[in-house]
C-alpha cells in the first residue's frame, strides 16, 4: 500500500471517530405518527415518535423490562391497598425550560382520562390522582390494582403550563378531524427536542442537551431525521443506497437482499402484535353488505365459517414468506393469559365452512366491504387481498377498500366499518389490556377500539373486576373464562403474530424492541 493511501485511510478513520459525538440517524418506516398529541391516539408509530420527545413515569426498555423514567420509585401505599405512590424525578426540565413537578403529572393523568383520550381504558380503574408534595404523586383506584405500573409505560407527561398557554388542555378529537397546537408541537422532558415537523413528510429531532439521563444512557444519536416512506420498494432502495440508516419494516421479500448488502444488517424478533379481522356482529342490519334487513355476521355460524375459510398457512408461506406465526387468538404469546391451546390455529376446512354458511341461511353467500389499511402492518393490503380470494370460496363476495391508516382507523373508532383489519400490540403484557380495548362494550371508559358492536353485560362486569382482583390465581381463572367466551363467540378472526425485521446500517447498534418502538436513547453509533 502506498503511503498516500495509508495517510488517507488514517485520516478517514480519525475523522469518523471524531464524529462519533455528532451522529445523525436517518430513520424511516411505512407510516408517520398520526399526531403529536400524546393522548389522542393509542397507536404504535404515534407513541414510538412520542417516546423520543416525551416521557411517561416509567417505560419499557428495549428488552421489555419496566425501568424508571420520570418516576424514580413506585410502590403500593403501605396504609391503603387502593393507592399507588410514585416518587418523581427531581431537577428535570421540559424542553422550553419549565420545571417538571407533580402538578404536570396530575394534569397529564386527568387529561388522559377525558372522553377524547385514547388512553382512558388504561386508567379506567382510577378514582383519583393527586399530588403528594412537589415530587410525590398518588393514584387512587377503585380497588387494589396490582398491575397499575405496566399500564403507564406509554402514558406521556405534558407540561401543564405549556398546555394551558397553547390552548391544549383538551385532548385533540382525532376522529372528529380536529387540529390543535399540541397535535403539531410538543414540549416534553424526553431525550430529543422537536425541531421541525411536516406530517407524512419529515420530522427532525435533535438531542436534548439538558436531558436528565445524559450519563445514564448511550445517547449517541445526536440528531434524528424521520421520513415515512410508504412504498416498500422505495423504502428498501433508500436503505440500500444509504439515504436512510434505519428502517423499521424491511419488506419480507427483500430480507435476503438487505442482509446480504455490504454495510447493512437485518435483526429479527417476534413482535408483540397480532393481526386480525373484526366484524360488526351487533347491528340488526349492515350498511356495507347486500343482505337486506339482516346481519350475516350476527350469526355465529357465519363467523365460524369465515374463520375456517382462511388459510393461515398459505398467508404465512406466500404473503409473509415465513415471517409470521399463524394465530388462533387475538393475543400475542408475550401476554399474560396466553396458552398454546387458545392459540391453536383453526383448521382450514372449506367444505365445513360451506355447510355452516348453508345452515345459517347464506348458502348462496353474500357481499360485504372489507376495510383495510395499506401502510400500517406488514403486507396488510396483500393479506386482505388473499382473504378476498379465500372468502370467495365460501360464497362471500368481498369488496376490498384499502387506504392509508389515517383514514382507516377512524372508521373503526366511529363504527363506520362492518368488516375491518386491525393489529393489536399489548404494552402492558396482560390480557386485561386487550379486554378493556377490544372486548368490553364500547362506552365512555372502555372499548374504544371494539368495532364489533359486541356487548355482554356479564362479561363487561367480569372485565371491570379484573383491575382490582388481587388473588392472582382467581384473576387468571377470570381471564381464562373471558377468553373462552371470546373464542366461542368468534369475536375476532385472528390471522397471525407479526415478526419484526429491522434493517439498518452496520454502524447502528440496537436490539429489536418487541413493541416495535425504537427508543433512540438506547442506540449506539459506530
Amino acid at each position: 500500500m502506498n503511503i498516500k493511501l495509508m495517510l488517507m485511510t488514517t485520516a478517514i478513520v480519525a475523522g469518523t471517530t471524531g464524529m462519533a459525538q455528532a451522529e445523525t440517524l436517518r430513520w424511516a418506516r411505512a407510516g408517520d405518527a398520526l399526531t403529536l398529541d400524546p393522548h389522542a391516539q393509542n397507536e404504535g408509530p404515534t407513541s414510538a415518535l412520542a417516546h423520543q420527545i416525551m416521557e411517561p413515569l416509567l417505560i419499557r426498555d428495549m428488552t421489555g423490562q419496566i425501568v424508571p423514567a420520570l418516576a424514580t420509585e413506585w410502590a403500593p401505599s403501605p396504609d391503603d391497598p387502593n393507592v399507588w405512590k410514585f416518587k418523581l424525578r427531581e431537577g428535570v426540565t421540559f424542553h422550553d425550560g419549565a420545571e417538571f413537578d407533580s402538578e404536570d403529572v396530575v394534569f397529564s393523568f386527568n387529561r388522559a382520562m377525558t372522553p377524547d383520550s385514547d388512553y382512558k381504558e388504561l386508567l379506567a380503574s382510577v378514582k383519583e390522582v393527586r399530588a403528594d408534595g412537589k415530587y410525590g404523586f398518588e393514584i387512587v383506584t377503585d380497588g387494589p390494582n396490582p398491575i397499575m405500573p405496566s399500564n403507564l409505560t406509554n402514558l406521556f407527561i405534558m407540561d401543564k403550563g405549556w398546555a394551558e398557554a397553547n390552548n391544549a388542555v383538551k385532548v385533540q378529537d382525532y376522529e372528529g378531524g380536529e387540529d390543535t397546537h399540541a397535535a403539531r408541537n410538543a414540549n416534553g422532558t424526553g431525550p430529543y427536542v422537536l425541531v421541525s415537523r411536516e406530517p407524512d413528510a419529515k420530522t427532525v429531532l435533535k438531542m436534548n442537551e439538558n436531558y436528565w439521563g445524559m450519563g445514564e444512557f448511550p445517547m449517541q444519536v445526536s440528531e434524528i431525521i424521520y421520513t415515512p416512506i410508504q412504498n416498500k420498494a422505495t423504502r428498501v432502495a433508500a436503505l440500500l443506497s444509504g439515504q436512510v440508516d434505519f428502517i423499521q419494516d424491511v419488506p419480507v421479500q427483500d430480507l435476503a437482499r438487505v442482509a446480504g448488502a455490504d454495510g447493512l444488517q437485518v435483526i429479527t424478533a417476534p413482535q408483540n402484535r397480532v393481526i386480525f379481522f373484526g366484524m360488526n356482529q351487533g347491528d340488526d342490519d349492515l350498511k356495507s353488505d347486500d343482505v337486506d334487513g339482516a346481519n350475516p355476521f350476527a350469526d355465529v355460524r357465519v363467523r365460524q365459517a369465515v374463520n375456517m375459510a382462511i388459510n393461515r398457512d398459505a398467508i404465512r408461506t406466500v404473503v409473509m414468506r415465513d415471517q409470521s406465526i399463524p394465530a388462533g387468538v387475538v393475543m400475542p404469546p408475550f401476554v399474560h393469559g396466553w396458552t398454546a391451546e387458545l392459540d391453536a390455529v383453526p383448521a382450514n376446512d372449506i367444505d365445513k365452512a360451506k355447510s355452516l354458511m348453508a345452515e345459517a341461511g347464506y348458502g348462496d353467500g353474500f357481499s360485504i366491504r372489507l376495510d383495510c389499511p395499506n401502510d400500517r402492518y406488514i403486507n396488510d393490503e396483500a393479506i386482505c387481498q388473499a382473504t378476498v380470494g379465500m372468502l370467495a370460496q365460501i360464497g362471500v363476495n368481498v369488496q376490498l377498500d384499502a387506504k392509508p391508516k389515517a383514514q382507516h382507523f377512524p372508521l373503526i373508532n366511529t363504527l363506520e366499518t362492518d368488516f375491518y383489519m386491525l393489529g393489536w400490540g399489548v404494552p402492558t403484557y396482560d390480557s386485561e389490556y386487550i379486554f378493556n380495548f377490544l372486548v368490553h362494550s364500547k362506552g365512555e371508559k372502555y372499548g374504544s377500539w371494539n368495532g364489533t358492536r359486541f356487548s355482554n353485560e356479564e362479561l363487561d362486569a367480569s372485565i371491570q373486576a379484573l383491575a382490582s382482583e388481587t388473588d392472582l390465581e382467581k384473576r387468571d381463572n377470570m381471564i381464562a373464562e373471558i377468553w373462552k367466551v371470546v373464542q366461542e363467540e368468534v369475536l375476532y378472526i385472528p390471522i397471525h403474530h407479526q415478526v419484526l425485521n429491522w434493517g439498518m446500517s452496520d454502524k447502528v447498534g440496537t436490539v429489536v424492541d418487541p413493541g416495535d418502538a425504537a427508543k433512540f436513547k438506547y442506540f449506539t453509533m459506530k
Partner: protein
Amino acid sequence: MRQAIARAWASDFMWSFRHSPVAIVSFIVAMVLIMAAILAPFIAPHTPFDPGSLNLMNGFSSPMQPNQFTGEVFWLGTDDQGRDVFSTILYGMRISLFVGFAAVTFAMILGVTLGLIAGYAGGWVGTLIMRVADVQLTFPGILVAMLIFGIAKGFTPIHLRDQMAIWVLIFAIGLSEWVQFARVVRGATLVEKGKEYVQAARLCGRSGTAIMVRHILPNVLGPVLVIATISLALSIIAEATLSFLGVGAPPTKPSLGTLIRIGQGYLFSGEWWILLFPAATLLTLALAVNLLGDWLRDVLNPRLR
C-alpha cells in the same frame, strides 16, 4: 361492393397507408392487442378476476417453471396473489382499452360540442367556454383526473364503489381531456364559419344547430380524428397512471397499471416478471396507438402533403 373496396384501396389514404411500414406494423400490433383483449375470456387460461378461483399457494411462480408447492406451470409466471400474469394482462388490457375508448368518446362528444358552440356562437358564451378550457389547461391532465376521481369517489355509494370505479375513471379521464378537442374544433369552426357555404345555409334559413351539425361538423372532423387517436394513447396511459397510484381500478380487478404497481414492489427480490410483462404490454399498446395517430396526422394535414 368490390368496386367500393377497390376504390377505397386506391384512395390517397390507403395509398399512404400501404407505403408506410410504420403505419402497417403499428396497425397490426394494435389490432392484435385489441383482439386479444376482446377475446380474453376465450384465450386466457385462467380467470384472474374471479377471486374464488385463485390459489394463493401459486403466488410468485416463475415463468415456465412449475410452482414449488402446487406444480402448476404459468407461461408468464404469477403475481403475489397467485394470479396468472398472462391472463391478468389480457383481462387488465380490457379495462385499459375500455376505459381508453370510453373516455375518449366522452371527451370527444363534450369537447366537440363545446368547441362548436364556442366557435359558432362566439360572444360571451364562447369566451366563457374557452376561458374554462384555458384554466383547465394550466393543470396537468392527470392532476385534474385525480381531483375528479377523488370527488366522484366520495359521492358514489360505498357498496357500488367497485362497480362504479371504472365509470368514475372514464368520467375523470374524459373530463381531463375534452379541452384539446374543444380548442381545435373552435379554431376550425371559426375558419369554416366565414366560408360561403355556411353563409348560404344561413340565408336559406337553417337553424344554428343544423348548420353546426350538418355543415360545419363534417368539415372539422379530420383533426378531431387525429386528436382522438392521440388522446386514446394518452387515456390508456392516464388510466395506467391512476391505477399505478392506487386510485384507479380496484385491487381485485387489476388493470395494467395496477399490475405494474404490484410488480414494482418485488423488483429488489428478483420477481421481475410481475413488472416486466405488463409494462412491456402497456408500452407496446401505447406506442402502437401513438404511431398510428402520428401517421394519421401526417396524412390528414394538408400542409405536410
